[in-house]
């Protein structure tokens, strides 16, 4: 469902404690009761939710993901490639890239795999911590994802779905301008090929590739 609120308007509403009730009403409208309830259960981190309000514009993602799924994806991006001395996957726009790329360059099966694993992640968050993945502490989020990759209780299908989504986020990150030029070392015009240059454990990979 589209919203007429701009980001600034929405933010003002979020920021104003007095408007909390109004915001929740909007949230229920936008994403349904589950997410809104999750938010009611203690919303001190609304970044992902704020993103969703924009990202749920149907003309942009054709509703591949529900509003709630988009918030989980946002948090997944942040958790998998967080901000360090270089920007995070969210700062590089991966949470917007993933729905776009799935729509344009991937199969129905791969789209469904991503939807499924996002819901699996969120379900596990609910089972283990009693709340949505979005509202977990960063350490809890990371541990939960590490468990999905390694836990014997996760099925092979789930592992492979997660691996695919993770690789797509990674692809989005390192092909973004931020990822290619800040996280990596970008050579637009190398000036020729040298077969041997010194490297250390701190040397960054080239962000510029002939083929992606």
């Amino acid at each position: 469902m589209p919203t007429n609120l701009t980001k600034t308007e929405l933010q003002q509403k979020v920021d104003g404690q007095d408007n909390r009730r109004l915001f929740m009403k909007k949230m229920v409208c936008l994403f349904g009761a589950t997410t809104a309830l999750a938010v009611l259960s203690g919303c001190d981190k609304s970044e992902a939710l704020r993103f969703t309000a924009q990202g749920s514009d149907p003309s942009k993602n054709d509703n591949l993901f529900s509003g709630h799924e988009l918030t989980v994806l946002y948090s997944l991006c942040e958790s998998i490639l967080p901000k360090t001395d270089t920007p995070s996957a969210v700062e590089a726009g991966c949470h917007k890239f993933v729905p776009h790329q799935l729509q344009h360059c991937h199969s129905k099966q791969q789209q469904n795999d991503c939807i499924q694993i996002i819901n699996t992640v969120d379900m596990q968050a609910n089972v283990k911590f009693g709340k949505t993945f979005v509202l977990l502490q960063p350490q809890q989020q990371q541990q939960l994802l590490l468990d999905i990759e390694s836990d014997a209780l996760t099925t092979d299908i789930e592992k492979s779905q997660f691996s695919f989504l993770k690789a797509l986020i990674v692809f989005g990150y390192f092909t973004s301008e931020i990822g290619a030029t800040q996280a990596l070392n970008y050579q637009a015009m190398p000036g020729g090929f040298k077969g041997s240059i010194p490297a250390t454990s701190e040397t960054k990979s080239w962000g510029s590739q002939a083929y992606y």
Partner: protein, 577 residues
């Protein structure tokens, strides 16, 4: 460049018509023009201007909507075959053929992936630029083991012509003195990485007779005055060649032969002109010109010349000939032998191995080398053949350090995982076999009996498959790659063999549909690429090959073309054509 370079209608009888503007057509046009011949180059596709039309050049991946990937719907609609090419992406798709407009059929249960590049410059814009001479062992292979017909030429017939094209095009490489891979006229080779030098030493120690050398490429590592005069400068190792290169650092029609031809004032180009068939005069037994269908509005027109050179690609040239049915040639012009369209070959690039090179953590490289290393064919004569199959293969390959592209699927979440992806990973070394494909009558293209394309030209119908010889060769190549990397001390060796999964065609080295030969009863062309049956019709692209050898064929297309033009002009001057 003259302002009237591009023509539409013309009643002029040119000295020469060159059909096609790729590597072969570009050379034919240049050589004719420089010999003072009024030359018309006919191109079925649009004009691509050097520099101006390299629309994606210099763009980073983030500047493409889908980060260099091509939209699914677009791919399915018009690039269902082209998408299989390694170089096909959102950065290059405008230089690939439109599969919807350019349909062809294959025999049920078989497949042939035909990569097209129908624009001015053809595949010279998209080629992989690897440039190797054939050797006498290659020219004698058919005779030596009885597969296919004997090439009517030998290395010495081409040697000076190889030098001629190499000097002008600019080929980087190293002097090796190998009998199976004659040296070229070289610009300096690209450098090897430290692990490559290490693997080279180990393999050459362990396997006498095998060599690991730097690949030879049509890149200006150090341009000469001749190249600078063409408006070309040194390669900057961007390896974004398939987008087009404004530096002219790799050889293409646009960067090299076309400006040279245009400079003479003798060149005209008819773009958007799809050649339907040749115009044959039964009385004189010569071709008079070509019938053309306009690429855009489907109107028809004709162009005339004293000689016609078909340089329209292996399948394209044969299609034009098969579609030229006359009283004397009911099965296609110059096809009295009945072999036109047969003996279709590609290269077999379907097996190899990748392994880890331990150590060298303090080594990296700078720039993107537009090519890799080569292990030349070490089974190049019958005494070196393996027991259960004939002919041989070489390996191409190279080293790289693992990066996010190789490690995205590794386990990990968060800051450490992110750091791993940005730092240098293990050194890896890859070897991929480049196998010879035997010439077989059963591998052929013909015209479809009922279906035509939008220009009213019968579709090409292809029946081409790998034979047991190719399967056995790839099985052996896979094992050999593992063996070489293992004995060179590499670890984590992983092999692949895709011969049962990948159709012929994807090496984009299709050759053989109008082969040369001494005997007009079993070949279409003589040793100068001249039709046995029609004196003023020549075919100088890959169609003329008698065997595929293992080398990338483009350099040989160039050499046989300039030799054929030289012969043709001499014959014209002697009034024999």
């Amino acid at each position: 460049m003259t302002t009237d370079l591009y023509i539409h209608e013309s009643n002029q009888v040119y000295d020469a018509i060159v059909v096609g503007s790729g590597i072969t057509g570009g050379w034919a046009a240049k050589e004719f023009c420089e010999r003072g011949m009024q030359t018309l180059m006919i191109e079925r596709g649009r004009v691509v201007e050097h520099r101006k039309d390299y629309i994606t050049e210099g763009k980073g991946p983030w500047q493409f909507d889908n980060r260099t990937k091509v939209d699914n719907l677009l791919t399915e609609e018009i690039y269902s075959v082209q998408k299989k090419c390694y170089a096909f992406s959102d950065m290059t798709k405008h230089f690939f053929g439109n599969d919807k407009d350019l349909p062809y059929s294959t025999k049920e249960g078989t497949g042939f992936d035909w990569i097209r590049a129908n624009q001015l410059g053809g595949k010279s814009l998209l080629w992989h630029r690897q440039s190797y001479r054939l050797s006498d062992f290659d020219f004698a292979a058919n005779k030596a083991d009885g597969h296919g017909n004997d090439w009517p030429i030998r290395y010495n017939d081409l040697k000076s012509w190889y030098s001629h094209v190499e000097t002008f095009a600019g080929i980087s490489g190293s002097e090796e003195g190998l009998e199976q891979l004659p040296d070229s006229e070289y610009l300096p080779p690209f450098e090897m990485t430290a692990p490559e030098l290490h693997v080279k030493q180990k393999i050459e120690e362990q396997f006498p007779g095998r060599h690991l050398i730097m690949g030879r490429t049509a890149h200006l590592t150090k341009p000469t005055q001749l190249h600078l005069e063409q408006g070309r400068v040194a390669c900057q190792a961007k390896s974004e060649c398939h987008k087009g290169c404004s530096l002219g650092a790799y050889f293409s029609t646009q960067s090299s032969t076309l400006p040279a031809a245009a400079k003479t004032g003798n060149l005209s180009i008819a773009p958007n002109s799809v050649v339907h068939s040749l115009i044959y005069d039964e009385k004189t037994q010569r071709v008079k010109g070509v019938r053309v269908v306009d690429n855009d509005n489907l109107t028809t027109r004709e162009y005339f010349a004293k000689v016609v050179f078909l340089c329209a690609s292996t399948l394209g040239s044969a299609q034009i000939m098969l579609n030229t049915k006359t009283k004397s040639f009911p099965n296609g012009i110059a096809n009295s032998s009945g072999v036109l369209g047969h003996y279709l070959m590609d290269h077999n690039y379907n097996a190899g191995a990748t392994a880890t090179v331990e150590g060298f953590e303090d080594e990296y490289f700078s720039g993107r080398r537009p090519g890799g290393i080569l292990i030349p064919n070490f089974q190049y004569k019958p005494s070196l053949y393996k027991k259960d199959y004939v002919r041989g293969y070489g390996f191409s390959g190279g080293s790289y350090r693992e990066s996010w592209q190789s490690n995205a699927h590794q386990k990990g979440i968060g800051a450490d995982y992110k750091a791993t992806l940005t730092k240098l990973g293990k050194w890896k070394m890859k070897l991929g076999a480049q196998g010879e494909m035997l010439p077989r009558f059963d591998n052929y293209m013909a015209l479809h009996s009922t279906k035509t394309d939008k220009w009213g030209i019968p579709l090409i119908h292809i029946d081409c498959t790998w034979s047991e010889n190719e399967r056995l060769m790839m099985a052996d190549a896979e094992q050999t790659a593992v063996d070489m990397l293992t004995k060179a001390g590499l670890t984590e060796v992983e092999s692949f063999n895709s011969v049962d999964r990948r159709n012929p065609g994807l090496a984009i080295h299709e050759v053989g549909t109008a082969r040369m030969g001494r005997d007009p009863k079993e070949s279409v062309l003589n040793g100068f690429n001249q039709c046995h049956d029609v004196d003023n019709l020549f075919v100088t692209d890959g169609a003329s090959f008698c065997s595929s050898a293992v080398q990338n064929p483009s350099l040989t297309f160039m050499a046989i073309t300039v030799r054929a033009v030289d012969y043709c002009v001499k014959e014209m001057k002697a009034m024999r054509i």
